[in-house]
Symmetry: D2
């Protein structure tokens, strides 16, 4: 693991998620650019001291120097955005598979370069767009793909948070607020990069459609903040659909209730993270139905990503763990020389990363434009 030292949030989540299914064992880390912090974290996690490193370069080099059966196989990169590209590139080039937190890089240019490295090295990469790991999100995607909703016409995705509704970055103890609002660490976007990309990824994942142009109202609401903390985006999608994406971190009192609604010619679906084990499907002429994690009737994709029977709630860590688990299954299949099943390969990867970075750049550009519509760039897949 690279990053995830004391005080970090997402590093701990990666560790919990990786541990859940017993597919990963954490054996080495460069948890911080501060060697003391890195060592302290390593001690807390019970790692062998010689495998706790002071930098990502050191980690990659020294692990690569170990015998193959004794080195790490997958490297998780859970640093702030500006520190994704370099370790990811070096890890891939050194023969490791990589899990990287979103957004994939600091810029679209970096993402393109990383895509080229990935292709050249033939390694594997997973991107932790957590929300696509929920069983009922899988069910939603399967439902759309089945055609049961007809042709998709409208897509609404919203991601309201409230934790940045004050000038939290003014508190030096708030590391999360600090780097996420700092353009030198986060990139050109704040809220749009942090949570807007999740919303964007969720909607493209479930609908199978692609955003073609957009019109964004991007705001920095809290005085003194350097990056956007709020935005709303009108969307035009492939196939003639349209929609709205809302992402804000200044909705005081809101937690994290990412919600997606998709309406087709025949019916609509509604999923929200706060009630993540339910998928509500509404029809014009018959009762709404509530599909549930673990239900006897769910799609193969939903079933594959479920651990316990219906009525035993699964949550965020399980969704996160599904990415890790499917990535592990894919790597195991690769090592065994077998083809991974579609369920195994169902984790976010470089394509999601490229489109996510394109979203960030397009939405910020649109926010600055007086023209209504800004085209989404073509992303070579």
């Amino acid at each position: 693991m690279i990053g995830g030292g004391q005080g970090a949030f997402i590093g701990a989540v990666h560790r919990l998620a990786a541990a859940l299914d017993g597919q990963y064992e954490l054996v080495a880390g460069a948890f911080s650019s501060n060697p003391d912090t890195s060592r302290a974290t390593g001690r807390e996690l019970g790692l062998a001291p010689e495998r706790v490193y002071g930098s990502f370069q050191e980690l990659i080099e020294q692990e690569k120097a170990r015998p193959e059966s004794e080195r790490v196989q997958v490297i998780s990169i859970v640093t702030p955005n500006y520190l994704h590209f370099a370790p990811a590139k070096l890890a891939l080039e050194s023969g490791f598979d990589v899990v990287v937190d979103k957004p994939i890089t600091f810029s679209l240019a970096e993402a393109r370069e990383l895509a080229a490295v990935l292709k050249a090295t033939g390694r594997h990469l997973a991107l932790t767009h957590t929300y696509t790991g929920y069983p009922m999100v899988k069910e939603a995607k399967a439902l759309v793909a089945s055609g049961a909703l007809g042709q998709i016409r409208k897509v609404y995705v919203e991601y309201p948070q409230g934790w940045l509704s004050t000038f939290a970055e003014g508190d030096s103890g708030n590391k999360q607020a600090g780097w996420r609002t700092d353009p030198s660490k986060s990139g050109i976007a704040g809220a749009m990069g942090d949570i807007g990309t999740h919303a964007f990824n969720l909607l493209e994942y479930v609908t199978g459609l692609q955003v073609e142009k957009l019109c964004a109202d991007i705001n920095t609401v809290v005085p003194g903040r350097q990056l956007d903390d709020d935005g709303a985006v009108l969307l035009r999608l492939s196939g003639g659909a349209s929609g709205v994406l809302v992402a804000t971190q200044v909705a005081a009192g809101a937690e994290n209730n990412l919600r997606l609604r998709v309406y087709g010619t025949l019916g609509g679906l509604d999923w929200q993270q706060e009630d993540n084990n339910s998928l509500v499907v509404r029809w014009p002429d018959r009762p709404a139905e509530t599909r549930r994690t673990g239900g006897a009737y769910v799609s193969a994709a939903a079933a594959h990503n479920t651990r316990v029977p219906a009525g035993h709630p699964e949550g965020y860590l399980e969704a996160f763990a599904n990415i890790y688990r499917n990535f592990a299954l894919t790597l195991q299949a690769a090592h065994a020389g077998q083809a991974a099943t579609p369920e195994m390969r169902d984790y976010p990867g470089i394509a999601d990363g490229l489109r996510g970075m394109a979203f960030i750049e397009t939405v910020i550009a649109s926010g600055r434009s007086e023209q209504k519509w800004t085209d989404f760039p073509t992303i070579e897949s």
Copy 2:
């Protein structure tokens, strides 16, 4: 009553709402431009045949000719939009008070002329923007006005319906779909006039803010339809707030779940019509609270608009009836030469009508514009 013959929807609602509190008695009507239909409706409703008229002109003239104690006092106009202005103007000029369904007229120009007539005659007019009649909407307005949420920053209002997700106007028996999608009867807007104005009115009512400019994506989704059936609008409001308004009639499976969320510097509120007796208020640092119709702690405005104790659900007709009741109380105060209290005067009127028509014209203009922002016109109050 003018309009509301057999097959109409909103006419029956007006009659139920007016009857509920025993403040109104229906004694005369011109229910249809077809005299047979009008007579049949009058018979069904048990009216004296001589007070069932064949046209609104006839109704107004003949009622005016009756002795003052035997004539109607208030005229409700529940016709399609293109038939609001003429009867309203004639009724006011003939000395009657008027209730008119929304949107107030066919165009902003008509609304301005009606405002002038109203001012000149000194009569009273109520506009049935139903949703502001709900007790918990009153509570929401009182909460914002109290400053408890701090300065308002974000406003989200959405009004998803699904009943026009097919080409329903192709069915000649569907009178509702017929006139509401016909520009000669409905005006320049379809969904935006029919339900967008409700959403707009609700957000301005609760927040006390005014839309200053907007950016609209207006669509006609169902092939063959003559007017918009879908739209999403970015909003900039007075006081620096911003927001999003969504109104669609092609969300297949959606019923009528108008929802408003308002976030200030200190907290946020959430109201949805489907659970109209609850108002959820969320705070960053303490538990969310659910205020309920009839609660011991609600504002005077909410209490005034409630009929039964907490736990006995009130609904759409009660909200509608609150407009009729408050209008009646205001008229009674006027007749008694007394000042109406703020609670009595709390019903939508000409100012709401003017802003609603301005919204329609601005949102349609923005939908056709390549520029991001379109200014909202100044409305003289």
Copy 3:
């Protein structure tokens, strides 16, 4: 109307419910045993002074003395329980149809006598067990009757209130608490008579089953109170089903969320008053469905008792009004010499009243018994 003077709760509800559909006009009343109070109420309601009476006897006698076309047709009795029987009997014997609030009388013996009077006079009587008036309760009954749930096995009904969790009757201004906890006015039961009978009526109405024996834990929780304010009852029903009935008025913080769940061999239903426009139906092997008031797919009974389209919430007053409306339709059919349809005759009546009184007497007896089971008496229908 007999009863319902100033300070009363249920009298006002009866007036609102009767007014809603324009089927009733309030023209006479004996609103209080105090003639001044009665007159004041009459004035407030705009009645002709000569038809505001000082006693129920006076009302019935003088109205009977008027020409048939100028007298009241239906008498609503909204007094405390001890004052139901005498006016109801006199009214029926004097040729009037009667609406009476629940429970029907002070004792089962009185109810049996009233049943005999009703039979002998051939008049009509409606009993306002409000909750059976909700459209989705009608839907629930139709669903059970259709066999879709299979054979019914389990029934759970609960009625938690909190308004008597303090010694409210100690406050002389609290008229509701006063008479409802006074055995000389309320009868042998407090909570079980006031709300237990509603729960009991709801479960027998929806399931079509009858309670055959029961085991009750009846408590007086608040010190100083004279009647039960809390109870829980194990039930054995016809057809081999069993269940639980809970009714309490000391659940501090609870409003009035009557809830019924019924499970059969094939599936289960769930209705709660707080979300009265939804009926949730759960199945073992397919998604739960939510049926909604106004849905295109609902039963004839549900549709008949609905006034506005789906998505426009109906509530308590509408449910109450459905009893008044169906009673009016039945009387109109009778006057016209026509057969009332099943939908028209679908209002609670004497049979519900008899079983309700039997429930009160049985549940109180069981509460005092050391034996587990107490038989429910046979009620001649």
Copy 4:
């Protein structure tokens, strides 16, 4: 691990829960009484073949024979009920700490003997009454203990399931249904032992009260079944409170929505597993509040049992893992010679096991009794 071979449900849950926080490593197992099954499971889980045993005796003996630093420290017993006591006793006597699934033993007598063994050996034991591991259940307990609800008067706990609404044990492939309905494996109770004990444990845990007598209606609803599959129980608790416990496995369509409501003199709380991250608290005179996992305001106990920030749902596995984690923290403190904090010691243990077995025996006896009330036995703590 003892038990948990292929086809088992709860063994896999124990493994996931133990893995989540990285406090446990699975290194040995006797997964089945069938050595082949045991070996196959061991292989699947990647264990060293020499530590996969053919019986629990073998596991305990051989592990004990290993050097202290290389043997298992904690033994998890996840077999059917009839196979809890013997391995638990042997493990404790052999110097191991034990996690055992509920109910703790086959009979109360066995539980008492196990308690004596535990006391004599000075080892530690945890019992996986999962539901007390939820953060908002901790919050509920803290709320009651704080006195904020006043004196507790009413307790309602319900646990509806539907998975045994058919004769599932007739399907030889359904191992779960098979042993859970078999008195030779499950004990004298079916539903009451399987889920009734969970409901009972939850209510005693949260309220801090003890059941003193009860009155049970115990049913075997599905023809051919050997044990109860349904029951309802009236409760009298210490301190004068009363309540109702419902547990059924024949509520066709129900999943697993365990729910607890507690009402005191000042207010009431409501928790349900389906929405486990919320705790609703209702007050007579102010708005209901919804406390949420991760909220800034929650109790120390709730915060201690939470892994991710508010708005990231935790679920069943996290609740289960909290038992494992707190047990590990307690053992680590013991090994370090330190006192465990109250938060560490907050996991179910022998006292819960004893009362659970007493509940099973009392509730079944009451079900067979004609007397209303059956006393709960005294359990020496």
